[in-house]
Symmetry: C3
Subunit: 202 residues, 3 copies
């Protein structure tokens, strides 16, 4: 099985859970939770595909994405005790999601023969836009604009992947895994040591 | 005259009115009201066409949509006494709009030769997205995420149409009308008996 | 150098500054400010290109747009004293931006051989949508829906350009400049004399 495809499907599942959990926190019904899960999971990749004019959009021709999102609903319900009791689960699912989507978004853009600068941008769009839409629909200030290092973790991860991909020292699958781990580690370290970027003064 | 086209045009008119009425309630000027009416009316169909990569987008090559939306402005103004005095007019226009757009969105997707599962999704996108954008621009919690059975009515209607269309017992026009009536009835019954889906627990 | 291209690039720079300034006011960090600047600058043109199905989207194949937006960040920082001390700078940058984008949006649509009514709509979409997204992401009521003559200035400017373009009395470059000045003057006059459109009653 293709590792890139696996990363994308797992990212979809994990992002759907982050959407469903926020919807549940906002007292939505199961239908609203499904919609928020769906939009969170596909929002970033859809925006990337629309910007690139890359049709058909992934989830529109591959039903596995919809199936994985629908499965996230009973999964979140059944394992809710474990998920809720775990500290910072929302953080975990969200972080794993952005890491996986940064990679799959970059690789898909590179596969279209587009230059690296744009591929980095598209990796970040893939990772970040679903969560922004989720937060806006739930009337939250988008997580991306809050204090924590967030999109910055994607950006550094994207640069790591760019370098690994350019110099081809390791196999592609190792590049994927190293990048995903880099993003997760950066974000955990940033939270632990309360790192943040300087504020814009203007 | 083509019944599908008529449903789409009437849905556009009715949705434009629902947008203009909400804008008026929010003290917007006539220009703002026109914009909200326009976006409410075309938002769902545009999103569907962009997701499907189905170009040109309907209202971009057929000026009748823009004309119908511009006509909704004086119409809403002239008949405002009757519209305002009618109890739950906003509800009525909104419900008729989602019913008509569910059908026209599904049928257009099926006409592109796309499978039924996706056609149901696209029917709901066509019906629901315009109202979500309207509510977000007006700083309201999107109607779709509130207690009432709303998108669920579209979903059930879409399933009704799917079955009628699959088994071809009646003519297509009867299928259209039966589905529209089903959606309207479900929503009225849901309001009357205060039905709602269970909340998501997670 | 092509004047139309220059207008588009300057509009991008100016809109990026308006986004960065609002982000700074909202206490965002430099990354958030960059994102808001980017989205403000490319949001309108991207929406226009997606609606028209005109691929590749401008900034996706021309890196000059991204470069100009990244340059707006240090520019805004270095000149912040002058910018902040100038009264109504946000207003100035925003107004110049909508003027330039109305023209470039209309001309690009006309270049695709699309009719004038739609070109006027697309000119307004190009001018206005970036600011709407900026305001929504920053949790402000979109400027376009507030009291001031705003989109109306674009509309009148678009009609001016339409007439100048139709009757070809002057050279195209003079048409561009006259339209940009018309929009800026209309907006300044509207602010000075506190003009506004009548409110929608419905």
């Amino acid at each position: 099985m293709n590792l890139l495809y696996a990363l994308d499907i797992i990212g979809t599942f994990v992002f759907a859970i982050s959407g469903i959990r926020l919807a549940a926190k906002k007292d939505m019904d199961i239908f609203g939770a499904t919609v928020i899960g769906f939009v969170t999971a596909v929002g970033g990749g859809t925006t990337r595909d629309v910007l690139l004019g890359s049709y058909p959009i992934t989830w529109v021709h591959d039903l596995n994405y919809a199936i994985v999102i629908l499965l996230a609903l009973p999964f979140t319900f059944i394992f809710r005790k474990y998920i809720v009791n775990m500290h910072r689960t929302f953080f975990v699912f969200d972080t794993v999601g952005i890491a996986l989507f940064t990679i799959s978004g970059m690789q898909k853009t590179l596969n279209l023969g587009i230059n690296e600068g744009l591929a980095i941008t598209m990796g970040m769009v893939s990772a970040v836009v679903g969560g922004v839409i989720r937060d806006m629909l739930c009337n939250e200030i988008p997580l991306i604009f809050r204090k924590e290092i967030y999109a910055t973790a994607c950006l550094i991860g994207a640069l790591v992947f760019f370098l690994l991909d350019k110099y081809q020292i390791f196999s592609q699958n190792i590049n994927y895994i190293a990048t995903v781990l880099a993003i997760i580690v950066i974000r955990i370290v940033a939270i632990k040591y309360n790192l943040s970027l300087p504020k814009m003064k203007a």
